[in-house]
């Protein structure tokens, strides 16, 4: 006969403790993890249930007759966060006959040596098992070397770096570590769509500020889209915990200048605000432009988390490896989140990435370094796409960085009224373009807060890291 005790509160079942303990040591243990989540237990003091196995059949009969309709209720934190533009549009564009220039994934091959390093890593037995949680040692070492060179400061691989599941995971770890209810987070529009739901999931309030088109000229460049410094200053207050910066910018391709970054830095310092700097496209910067890390501006290192991505650096989005770099007193909190969410990232991929970084670190003075050669390859694709779009009568906004281009489609005057008027124009346009032109893109209003959707609904976003371009 085996006794099974269940208590409703922390505490032991006094009456049967002796019986329980003796069984524990002399019997066998089946190690299984089971967790029970309850909403409906009410507290009436300690109640213990002791059911002997000979009473089980009676209990089971009772249970069978008392089957309640189960109403699984999700938590408040994910309320309203279920929809997602990608889920909608990748489904629509999954048809192979459609040219997919929507989602940002390269269809060019990663460099051969990157694939070779992965094959080498996977052949080593221990590299198929767990590695260090906060980042595989050889990878964090390589990252610290590359970024020490770029930032011009010492970066401790163990305390100043966290490796995550993509830059997405870094954004999540940063926001979960440092943002909570009562906080406000400034998000620049248009924005990579996950920023808003992640801020909301952390219980905080997103505060939007749009980039505004400053020119009336014909040849639009991403540099024409700017923040109004006075408008930006107004968004900061005592509740502002952080601002999310994305440079080079998705979807516009804007590369923030030193002066623009200084405006943001000044406000961060004045209001003691953190800066979450999403720099996944850091290497994809075109002629005449320079990527500047806001963390290198005076007073910014101690308040900035800089996020990078292997997927964008090496054209391996499916490897899902990213990293956060910053001061120990901030990174340590991201590490706590990481150890309580997925603990460690895949080993062979991290090892391969480390080796790839060493190869390119050694040639950072050489134009053949992949960080520069990819950028050159993409610049010609950018120019080709811009030309094609202009010939078709459209107005592209030429990006200074990244691998996306936004296009003003209003010039085509495609009449789409009457077709589901609740949807913004660009959503309707993309759906029409998919069915009638077999070409897909992403509507720009997906990257905007509720107030500015109308402002951006005449634009759609194309990705040009494609072999066809």
């Amino acid at each position: 006969m085996s006794w099974y005790c269940m208590t409703r509160r922390l505490g032991s079942c006094e009456g049967s403790r002796r019986a329980c303990n003796s069984q524990f040591f002399s019997g066998h243990i089946y190690y299984a993890g089971m967790l029970f989540a309850s909403r409906s237990f009410c507290c009436l003091g300690v109640r213990t249930y002791q059911l002997r196995t000979d009473l089980l059949s009676r209990s089971i009969r009772l249970a069978a007759s008392a089957t309640m309709a189960f109403r699984p209720k999700n938590t408040r934190r994910i309320e309203g966060l279920d929809s997602n533009v990608w889920v909608e549009f990748t489904k629509v564009a999954a048809d192979p006959s459609i040219v997919n220039l929507g989602q940002g994934l390269p269809d060019i091959s990663p460099p051969a040596y990157v694939k070779e390093e992965l094959a080498k890593a996977a052949a080593v037995d221990r590299l198929n098992q767990y590695t260090r949680g906060f980042g595989h040692p050889s990878l964090v070492k390589a990252l610290s070397q590359v970024y020490e060179r770029v930032c011009g400061r010492k970066i401790d691989p163990l305390t100043d770096i966290l490796v995550t599941v993509g830059a997405y995971g870094s954004l999540f770890s940063t926001i979960q570590a440092l943002i909570e209810e009562g906080d406000e987070v400034i998000i620049i529009e248009p924005f990579y769509d996950c920023y808003e739901p992640m801020v909301r999931m952390a219980g905080a309030k997103p505060v939007f500020i749009p980039l505004r088109y400053k020119n009336d000229g014909n040849s639009a460049s991403s540099a024409d889209w700017v923040l109004d410094p006075a408008e930006l200053a107004n968004k900061f207050n005592s509740k502002t915990k952080a601002i999310i910066l994305n440079t080079p910018h998705n979807p516009l391709g804007k590369v923030f200048t030193r002066e623009e970054l200084q405006v943001i830095a000044d406000l961060c310092i004045k209001h003691d605000t953190l800066c979450i700097s999403d720099e996944v496209y850091e290497w994809l910067v075109y002629k005449g432009n320079k990527h500047i890390k806001i963390a290198t501006l005076p007073g910014m290192w101690e308040r900035t988390i800089t996020i990078g991505s292997a997927g964008k650096t090496y054209s391996v989005t499916g490897w899902k490896l990213g990293w956060s770099i910053g001061p120990q007193n901030l990174i340590k909190h991201l590490q706590v989140v990481h150890q309580n969410t997925l603990y460690t990232c895949p080993t062979p991929l991290q090892e391969a990435l480390a080796q790839a970084f060493w190869i390119d670190y050694k040639r950072m003075d050489d134009p053949d370094c992949y960080f520069y050669s990819l950028s050159r390859e993409l610049e010609s694709k950018r120019d080709r796409m811009a030309q094609l779009l202009q010939e078709a009568g459209l107005k592209p906004v030429i990006p200074d960085g990244g691998y996306f281009m936004i296009v003003d489609v209003s010039t085509l005057n495609v009449g789409l009224s009457g077709k589901d008027d609740k949807q913004p124009y660009d959503y309707k346009f993309v759906k029409w373009m998919i069915t009638s032109k077999k070409l897909s893109a992403i509507p720009l209003s997906a990257f905007c807060g509720p107030e500015t959707k109308r402002q951006f609904e005449k634009y759609i976003r194309f990705c040009f890291i494609k072999s066809r371009v």
């Binding site: 099974y4 989540a37 279920d82 694939k115 150890q339 603990y343 062979p348 991929l349």
Partner: protein
């Protein structure tokens, strides 16, 4: 900053035994039976599948795949586990792939646990359950484990879940590692349970590839939909290549299910031998092992070795933790103190047990035996 920079949800969850014990093992151990991972490789067919995937001319396997799970993987998981769960599973709505079973657990807590919720955790427990509940704002309720999770006991749990309208998160990562002809019973197959259970599995444990970090959740759509919401707002995609290889691994296992060539037959056979070997080894030196019916861990009573590690009165640290640290530093043998798997309130109830992982090559187990034999001799010689 005048107020703490970090969010309150991190309160009380910053400590982690692995950070400490993995570092100790890396620094001092010559024989590591501590952290749970095999020191033998994943099976050849799985490594080959990975190599094939990464060198495919198509190369699109190096790019994003479907966020909720690579289609070939969710399809085969639905097929394979549909049979075992006795129902038709839709790969798109009843299965979600995660970054290891660890992230599956995280999604469950974030999706369903909030302030005011209680979560019952059976002790001893895989240590991440407690901080994950805390991070979600929930309250933990601990119940001590009793011997043998027989069908009778699972039915009792099921009855209580149904009666009180409770969810069940069933961590079954060691589902194939069951010995002595015992049967792993899936609680989701019991009456009234499918609708309220999330089943969690792991490629790392199934295919001896812990470093691949591929896990999955299975359950009814009305529960999985909320896991998908958490997943799409946290990690979003899981790495493609390993998913492709794991899918091929499952294809093979589906064909060989129940046959002697099946990895799911061979692995437990191999591990049972290793278990018996380690049990014998520990018995011989006076550490009293508790024979496990499943997983690749066993727990041993170290009372007879107490003399090697002096008691420190009024110490905050449980005895077994100090013992394990002393052992790795002085004997080079790494193991994990059992108190690490207990709640704060109960840590000192079971403080003379340590946990060994026996998913190790013969040479490793022999080396462990040598250390133990030598230690025993040192104790008994004048």
């Amino acid at each position: 900053m005048s107020r703490p920079v970090q969010a309150r949800r991190l309160e009380g969850i910053d400590k982690n035994i692995w950070v400490e014990f993995v570092k100790l093992a890396a620094t001092y151990s010559t024989v590591n039976l501590g952290q749970g991972f095999p020191d033998f490789p994943p099976p050849g067919f799985l490594k080959e599948a990975f190599l094939r995937a990464l060198s495919e001319e198509n190369h699109m396997l190096h790019q994003y795949t479907r966020a909720f799970g690579h289609p070939p993987l969710v399809k085969i998981l639905a097929q394979f586990f549909g049979k075992l769960l006795g129902r038709e599973l839709d790969p798109m709505t009843n299965v979600m792939v995660t970054v290891g079973a660890y992230q599956a657990l995280f999604c469950c807590f974030q999706a369903f646990i909030g302030e005011g919720d209680e979560v019952i955790i059976i002790e001893p427990f895989f240590d991440c359950y407690e901080p994950m509940v805390k991070m979600a704002g929930g309250t933990t309720v601990f119940v001590p484990l009793r011997p043998v999770f027989s069908r009778g006991e699972l039915e009792l749990i099921a009855e209580l879940c149904v009666k009180h309208d409770v969810l069940c998160f069933s961590d079954e990562v060691y589902e194939w590692l069951v010995y002595d002809g015992k049967e792993h019973i899936r609680i989701a197959t019991l009456q009234g349970m499918w609708d309220r259970t999330v089943v969690i599995g792991s490629a790392g444990k199934t295919f001896s590839a812990t470093g691949w970090k591929v896990g999955w959740t299975m359950g009814p759509n009305r529960l999985l939909q909320h896991l998908r919401t958490v997943h799409q707002n946290s990690a979003y995609h899981c790495a493609t290549l390993a998913q492709e290889a794991v899918a091929q691994g499952f294809q093979r296992e589906l064909m060989l299910y129940g046959k002697p060539d099946s990895y799911f037959v061979q692995l437990p056979e191999e591990l049972q031998k290793k278990r018996d070997w380690l049990v014998q080894s520990l018995d011989a030196v006076g550490m009293k092992p508790i024979i496990p019916e499943g997983t690749y861990f066993l727990v041993a009573d170290i009372s007879k070795f107490r003399s090697s590690v002096p008691d420190v009165p009024d110490s905050d640290e449980p005895y077994d933790s100090r013992f394990a640290k002393w052992m790795v530093k002085n004997k080079g043998l790494a193991a994990i103190p059992l108190s690490a798997f207990y709640s704060e309130a109960h840590k000192n109830n079971y403080n003379h047990f340590i946990r060994f992982c026996f998913a190790k090559e013969e040479a490793t187990l022999k080396a462990a035996n040598d250390i133990l034999q030598k230690w025993k001799q040192e104790k008994t010689s004048p």
